[in-house]
Amino acid sequence: MSAIVEGRTGPFEMVIGLEVHAQVISKAKLFSGASTAFGAEPNTQVSFIDAGMPGMLPVINGLCVEQAVKTGLALNAQINLVSVFDRKNYFYPDLPLGYQISQFTKPIVGKGIVTIDLPDGSTKDIGITRLHLEMDAGKSIHDIRPDATHVDLNRAGVALMEIVSEPDIRTPEEAGAYVKKLRSLLRYIDTCDGNMDEGSMRCDVNVSVRRPGEGFGTRCEIKNVNSVRFVMRAIEYEAARQVGIIEAGGTIDQETRLFDSQKGETRPMRSKEEAHDYRYFPDPDLLPLRLDPAWVARIKAALPELPDARKERFVRDFGLSPYDASVLVAEKENAAFFETVAKGRDGKMAANWVMTELFGALNKKGLDVTRSPVKAEALGGLIDRIKDNTISGRIAKEVFEIMVETGRDADAIIEEKGLRQVTDTGAIEAEVDKVIAANADKVAQIRAGKEALKGWFVGQVMKATQGKANPAAVNQILDKKLKG
């Protein structure tokens, strides 16, 4: 997919911005002491504050503030030492207060930058407009009864970080890379678990199209898209829809739309008379949030190594390509696994084994690296046996398959199956002599100049030794003997 949508009347460019709602990792909610754990019985994790009972006052959770600051620092963003909570007013059954406590004019985090990694190994900086703290709403369930909506307030009041990007994104791939990078960052610093299936990360996608070089077109917002793949598909559909309308002489209405993942299309969400007027005003129950610069500095100093720094280090210390490094660092568990394998070994070789063989095997089994039957030390042990010529690369793949199935060490498998490579030149010579003696005609052809036949001889010797002969030794001995 390119940055350009080819319309009937010429090319269009997509302009995309994302709003990501990331659920903060905390034990208790943003303004109450009720639990945030996922999957509890309905309405068991609700306090009178979350239920909007009269006379209850919110008290902010200090850890949620810290998580937001930490995230802001990881986004290379400005931390606002004074921020303000506002009420965003609207009525919906899963919002018992009648307003959402959010931050409107003075968010806790200002402008920042996220660097995304693209499949061709290049990177692109995407601007962050802001990050603010707000409370989540409860959950409405519409399909238990045809005539009623059921409401569970367990999620009501859980802390969210809304992370808003600048309209810097130009293709569905960039949007996908942005969501992946954000998820990776949040997981590195443990501020959000990034679990899109459980709704811990949800995206609203703003899409508009324009003729190249023109100003921004009218945008549509696609609400609550819950996977990287759907974000990309929703953008593609929406951009094509808008181009179709413009080329037919129509204009785009600014509206909120829903993505139907089954049909792969977007459609309008609310009728226009419901157009929102949130009447934001500062929440009189909450004082401005003031941060101590020394406290912010301490959080900054305690940040772990982030994906970009780790990627650079992998390129520098292990000689990996930028793309391979970006794949390995995306999940911190994968990065840690690779580092254990690569430590004191050939980094490129370790990367190949982890990315091709290990990830391939895990994919087939539907496992992630934390549940890999082959531990990092064991994979390192296998690589050691290739390096010290105990086994060839080809035999190593056989050994690896057994390791995946049994979880055993490479050494034990090599011994038991007798896979040790034959490096004893005497033994190899004997096999070479046998093959030469049995194929005098082919020897003659080689000596007459048909060099390509040598490969056939190598194959015969490997076959006779069940692949255990050291290929370099076989080649050397063959060269010597065939010259005659």
């Binding site: 002491g33 019985e41 309905p42 994790q45 303000v84 007013n89 909450l286």
Partner: protein
């Protein structure tokens, strides 16, 4: 700032308050009067005055991240118009 009938109806709708048509003119006049009275504050020069956000000189208190509340479902649902399987039940909100 003068408030007209349309604005009164809009505010009423946003606040989910039922207003009868015959009340509109009266309400428009009343709200306009209140706003005009408050607007007198605009006569004071506040260019170099920090906005006062509270009458008490204190910082926003913070709570530790500990679960101290919840597991009071019966109390939470006690005033619900209808309850089923631990859920609040309300009239259907989507078409």
């Amino acid at each position: 700032m003068a408030i007209d009938r349309a604005t009164v109806l809009k505010i009423a709708r946003l606040a989910r308050i039922e207003v009868r048509p015959e009340e509109c003119d009266h309400l428009a006049k009343e709200i306009s009067g209140i706003l005009a009275w408050v607007e007198q504050l605009g006569e004071v020069d506040t260019r170099n005055v920090e906005p006062m956000t509270s009458v008490v000189a204190m910082e926003l208190p913070r709570r530790a991240d500990e679960v101290t509340d919840g597991n009071i479902r019966d109390a939470i649902l006690a005033n619900a118009p209808e309850v089923e399987g631990g859920f609040f039940v309300v009239p259907k909100v989507v078409e």
